[in-house]
Amino acid sequence: MNRKSYDEMTKKELLDVAKRRGIKGRNKMNKIALIKAIKLKDKPMQKITKSEEKIKKRKLDVDYEVNHLELLPKEPGNVYVHWEIADKEKKTDIFLRLINKGKMVLEIPVASDKGKGYLRVEEGKPLIASIGFKKRKRFVSIVSSEEILVPHSKPSAKKTIEWIYVNPDTGKIVKKQRKVHDKKALKKKK
């Protein structure tokens, strides 16, 4: 937010600032004395400004120089992947694989140092991403992601019904084949 410099302020404004800074005897001061007193009080503020500038001037880290690969869910059928390969001996032919329960569902060549992108995938499936190279036609993984579940957009086809009773006081759980609503009824059943 832009602020007026003290020299641009009216005496009234300066008095207001001085009041907030807790400057005593301000009502007897002229403009120059007020500015001087405020600036003196501002010294710690300058330290703050310096610290703020230090963080604001810092550039975002471009490379973290650690192998990483993250797969994130965006929406049904859409995931996002970002990676960085920091290994010294960089391989040239690098592939990204998506794996569903041990089965490869996608393989694409990717940049060997870093990258990001959105991928179309089947919805409702658990997926792991892996980046690696090929040695004697076998895939050697350099880095793998955590497993995610791709969101789905339809109700479940599974319609089996199982009930559980959770004791509201103790939190104890009892699985039931049939629905029993309250404690009394549960006791009766027993």
Binding site: M45, I55, H68, E146, K154, K158
Partner: protein, 532 residues
């Protein structure tokens, strides 16, 4: 007791990002918080108090997020809020003294003066500048069930580091306990964001229930027999309540819904943009910066330009809020009746809202809520309000089903917080999580300065994870501020990380960060260690 046909669970989700700028005497974005207190939190509290004194029985669920808890207990921000109230009070007193304008305008100014005096009385005298103490008392008297939230309103499915996910929940619970004196029974997942695995973290931390958007429950596996009109349980016994799509619509939509009624106050016409600049200087901002003062003299009127808006009529607006409440109750009763026909138990209708809708965006929202709660208790023989724990006492047996990944955002998934405009944030968050855990586990006996730096890294990480920044970048409102904020937290974190590793801490910087990003004063960096 009358035999009601269904239950209504109103959930007010209260959240604002942590915004505090001690380095500036006046900071525009801090006003979001002051406006929310003035227009939503305090008016709602006053309404609840009035209902309690009248002997009205009501049950309402309210989440108060940890950033909001931190801000409401911050002495600098509370002092600045007092200044905010004082400046409006002096403006109104001076305007009324000057006796300008016609009778109608004078009446509106008098309404605002009374209102600000009442707010000031509750804030400064009755609650002794501790607004949370008021809500806490209402919880102890069993009118409210207050729940917590992920520590900084983070979207857990977008945080794949299991430990950081856990910390978001643990710190959220810790912040709650320190203010409300007991553990929370429920949690609001930031943006209602769920994916498989979250239920285990909630169960491990003693959380009994949470809320999801409609499809989070409807697409659960196996398919829930009662849809969203009864909760489902995970294997661990955590209850998931789904949002009723019909009930919220009437309230949410600004055009077709209640808030768009022509009698209601016009949001976009504020005297802050209209009074002479000398008055802006005197009362609103010493630098002559124009922004919303919270004093708005006009009603929506119709589809007319701002200069054609007619003056606000408070009585008429209150009357309209009552009529809207009648209509809402009528619809809820109809729905409950219909559902009871097809269900073998009483349905629960869950309607979650952002608290700030009531009062800030929809000025008469708190009056609507007050009228609604009063009328349900006094006149409805078909529905009653209930909180999730009380519902679960009545119905402790529910279907076992695993919710579906979802959020309550536009589109229902993660696209709002995650698209080409803001996806650059996530690689940083990912690395920050790794770095935080690395140092938390490696450094066992730090000296005091290093310990403070490590703990501050934890705060910067959590603040960077607020869903607010990526949300605001997507919507384009306050987008520059949000980009600056998220970059600031990433840079502050990485700067401290390097300083800790070199064992050379810039103490001025550390002090500044502790003062500014002072969320969770109780935080300990050891909280980030993985549990073995």
């Amino acid at each position: 007791m009358k035999n009601k046909q269904g239950y209504l669970t109103i959930v007010l989700h209260s959240h604002l990002p942590f915004i505090k700028h001690p380095e500036h005497e006046f900071f525009l974005e801090e006003n979001w918080f002051f406006e929310a207190i003035t227009e939503a939190y305090l008016p709602l509290y006053i309404s609840f108090e009035r209902l309690r004194r009248e002997g009205v029985k009501f049950q309402l669920t309210m989440s108060i997020t940890p950033p909001l808890i931190s801000m409401l207990t911050d002495s600098l921000l509370m002092e600045r809020y007092q200044r905010y109230l004082d400046s409006r009070l002096s403006f109104l007193r001076d305007e009324i003294y000057e006796n300008k304008g016609n009778e109608k305008e004078k009446k509106i100014l008098q309404f605002y003066l009374n209102r600000f005096e009442e707010l000031n009385y509750f804030f400064d005298i009755k609650l002794n500048r501790n607004i949370l103490s008021g809500f806490k008392k209402l919880q102890e008297q069993e009118f409210l069930e207050i729940i917590t939230c992920t520590a900084t309103h983070a979207i857990l499915p977008l945080e794949l580091n299991e430990r950081i996910r856990e910390v978001q929940v643990e710190v959220g619970i810790d912040a709650y306990k320190r203010v409300f004196g007991r553990a929370p029974k429920g949690i609001w997942l930031g943006e209602c964001a769920y994916t498989n695995g979250v239920e285990k973290i909630l169960a491990n931390n003693g959380i009994k229930f949470t809320f999801l958007d409609t499809h989070g429950v409807l697409y659960a596996k196996p398919r829930p027999l009662y849809g969203v009109h009864a909760p489902i349980y995970s294997e661990e016994g955590v209850a998931f309540f789904g949002r009723d799509p019909e009930a919220s619509k009437q309230v949410w939509s600004a055009e077709e819904g209640y808030p768009g009624n022509f009698n209601y106050r016009e949001f976009y016409k504020d005297i802050g943009y209209e009074i002479p600049i000398e008055k802006v200087n005197k009362y609103l901002h010493p630098g002559g910066f124009r922004f919303d003062s919270g004093i708005k003299m006009h009603k929506i009127t119709g589809n007319v330009p701002l200069n054609k808006k007619e003056l606000y009529d408070r009585e008429k607006a209150i009357e309209t809020a009552g009529t809207n409440a009648d209509n809402f109750i009528f619809n809820m009763e109809k729905e409950a009746e219909h559902l009871l026909d097809i269900m073998d138990r009483k349905p629960i209708i869950v309607t979650p809202f952002d608290t700030e809708l009531f009062g800030h965006w929809w000025f008469e929202g708190p009056d609507f809520i007050e009228s609604l709660l009063r009328k349900i208790d006094k006149y409805s023989d078909k529905i009653e309000t209930i909180t999730p724990p009380n519902y679960l006492k009545k119905y402790p047996t529910n279907q076992l089903s695993l919710p579906a990944p979802s959020t309550w955002g536009d589109g229902g998934y993660f696209g709002v917080w995650f698209n080409e405009k803001n996806d650059w944030v996530y690689p940083h968050l990912y690395m920050m999580g790794k770095r935080m855990i690395e140092l938390a586990e490696k450094i066992t006996t730090p000296d005091n300065t290093i310990e403070r730096a490590l703990t501050q890294m934890g705060r910067e990480l959590l603040l960077a994870e607020s869903s607010d920044w990526t949300f605001l970048i997507t919507t384009g409102t306050a987008s520059n501020y949000s980009i600056d904020r998220v970059k600031f937290h990433i840079n502050a974190f990485n700067e401290l990380y390097e300083e800790v590793k070199r064992n050379m801490i810039d103490k001025n910087l550390l002090e500044f960060l502790e003062e500014r990003d002072s969320i969770f004063p109780f935080l300990d960096y050891r909280a980030f260690r993985r549990k073995s």
